[in-house]
């Protein structure tokens, strides 16, 4: 048998991909956002839903360092050190993520805007997506509205029985133990709600439940929700962003909660990212940041049906 040596993307796709990358860089340069290249090796990701790949012997003490799942930690340290608006365009790695729209190695665009909140950054994400994929109507949709419309359930108010009924109505039959509340919402988002979003539009989904705040600050106007958003195009989740949490005590509490969750689930528990916590102590400027899946964006732009088709 001959080894499968042919790259996924053909020459025409490579040219269009290169044009997309040039458009992204021009878009950000026009807005005065500085390209930075933080190290790809650093501390392991804390969040339980992400697993980092270890590089043995990479640390000064001979221990492992981890391939970044995103450049967030390093970029926030740059922001705290006074870098101003910055972006990263390059690889990130997520262990075990393999599929049509997932890859262990992916291309990420992550950028931070000082003094902007998540709403202003959503405008910028929509403008960038339009610059790469072509103009489409932009739609802003609250997480709760999207769930009411596409899963028939209010994710902020429904009790567990109502959420379980919504799963059944959507034909989602999860094997094994019953899902917790956030896992049930993730099931609805990934199976039913998400695929319905961004059909002919650029859809900005915002107002995520506070329990899924990740690194976003909570919304004072509705404390049931966090200042987090995602962007959907053609049913695909393209980007995830926050009005960033800057309070070091709250950040430490979230890291510790994630460690506890990892311990409970029997996952590897990593040391706290003390460098990031120290940077937050020193003062992270008020900012909004977003990570965007470049391979998916290119796939939408060229009409490809998988990540493999737009990657080398």
């Amino acid at each position: 048998m001959t080894a499968d040596w042919r790259p996924g993307a053909d020459r025409a796709t490579l040219q269009r991909r290169a044009a997309c990358l040039a458009t992204i860089r021009a878009f950000l340069a026009e807005r005065g956002v500085l390209e930075v290249q933080p190290p790809c090796l650093g501390p392991a990701a804390m969040e339980p839903a992400l697993e980092s790949l270890a590089v043995p012997g990479a640390a000064a003490d001979g221990g492992p360092l981890y391939l970044q799942t995103s450049p967030e930690s390093a970029m926030k340290r740059l922001l705290a050190a006074g870098s101003g608006d910055i972006y990263y365009l390059g690889p990130a790695w997520r262990a075990g993520e393999r599929g049509r729209w997932h890859a262990v190695e992916l291309t990420l665009l992550e950028w931070y805007r000082v003094g902007l909140d998540h709403h202003r950054l959503m405008d910028e994400v929509a403008a960038l997506v339009a610059a790469v994929c072509g103009e489409r109507p932009v739609e802003r949709l609250r997480y709760a509205e999207a769930f009411r419309a596409h899963a028939g359930v209010d994710p902020l108010e429904a009790d567990d029985a109502e959420i379980a009924a919504a799963l059944r109505a959507a034909g989602i039959d999860l094997q094994g133990a019953a899902p917790g509340r956030d896992a049930a919402l993730d099931l609805l988002l990934s199976h039913t709600v998400g695929p319905a979003l961004g059909r002919g539009t650029i859809t900005l989904l915002h107002g995520f439940p506070a329990s899924q705040a990740a690194l976003a600050r909570l919304d004072d106007a509705d404390p049931r929700t966090a200042r987090r958003f995602e962007c959907f195009v053609d049913g695909l989740e393209i980007a995830n962003g926050y009005h960033e949490l800057t309070d070091p005590a709250a950040q430490r509490a979230r890291f510790e909660a994630e460690q506890a969750e990892r311990r409970r689930a029997g996952q590897p528990v990593h040391a706290l990212d003390e460098a990031l916590l120290a940077a937050l102590e020193a003062g992270l400027p008020d900012c909004a940041g977003v990570a965007l899946g470049v391979d998916r964006l290119v796939a939408v732009a060229v009409g490809a049906e998988s990540l493999a088709a737009v990657r080398v």
Binding site: E97, P179, A291
Partner: protein
């Protein structure tokens, strides 16, 4: 029996679910950016061929199904069971009618059939893609009308009925495509 994690899921993998053997038809990894990962799987029940859709939490494991495929020779049926023989070991297997299903229309003694065995028992019998069968009953051929593309029914020695061209006569041996249930041509002598 081996267990498989969702990481190993792929089309064709045979697993157990609620006590029945299934084959994976399609597997898609889905995961919201900041949430849990899941495997969204289409599976075909190997006992009744029904396709179901199930979701597994990423990283969970399931038991593999003890399923294998073998070419066995059909020997006879007694009305209740259909008997097959392994041509190398001469071991015999009895398949219930539910396992033979559609294949019953096409197979005759000594045909080599692909049989799916679950825990060593026949679960599904597939007829060979092409079989040669004799016509036992059909209307007399209509001469001079062979170009019109007309057809007529013909009953074959296994009891199955197929559409054949008008020139085919009783006693002829025909080649049949069992996947389509269609006449292909006269069998090579």
């Amino acid at each position: 029996m081996a267990t498989y994690s969702t990481q190993e899921f792929k089309a064709g993998l045979k697993i157990m679910l609620d006590g029945d053997p299934y084959t994976i038809v399609e597997n898609e990894f889905v995961k919201p950016g900041k949430g849990q990962g899941f495997s969204r799987v289409k599976l075909r029940n190997l006992k009744n061929n029904r396709v179901v859709e199930k979701t597994f939490k990423s990283g969970e494991s399931v038991e593999g199904a003890d399923v294998m495929e073998k070419d066995l020779q059909y020997i006879y049926n007694d009305g209740e069971f259909w008997y097959f023989m392994d041509p190398t070991s001469f071991e015999q297997k009895a398949a219930p009618e539910s396992a033979v299903a559609e294949a019953a229309k096409w197979i005759k003694e000594q045909d080599l059939c692909n049989v799916i065995l679950w825990e060593d028992e026949p679960l599904q019998v597939e007829a060979p893609d092409f079989v040669d069968l004799q016509v036992v009953e059909t209307d007399p051929g209509v001469r001079g009308d062979t170009s019109s593309g007309g057809s007529k029914p013909a009953k074959l020695e296994t009891g199955a009925s197929v559409r054949v061209p008008l020139f085919i006569e009783e006693g002829e041996v025909l080649r049949i495509d069992t996947r389509k249930g269609e006449y292909v041509g006269r069998a090579n002598k």
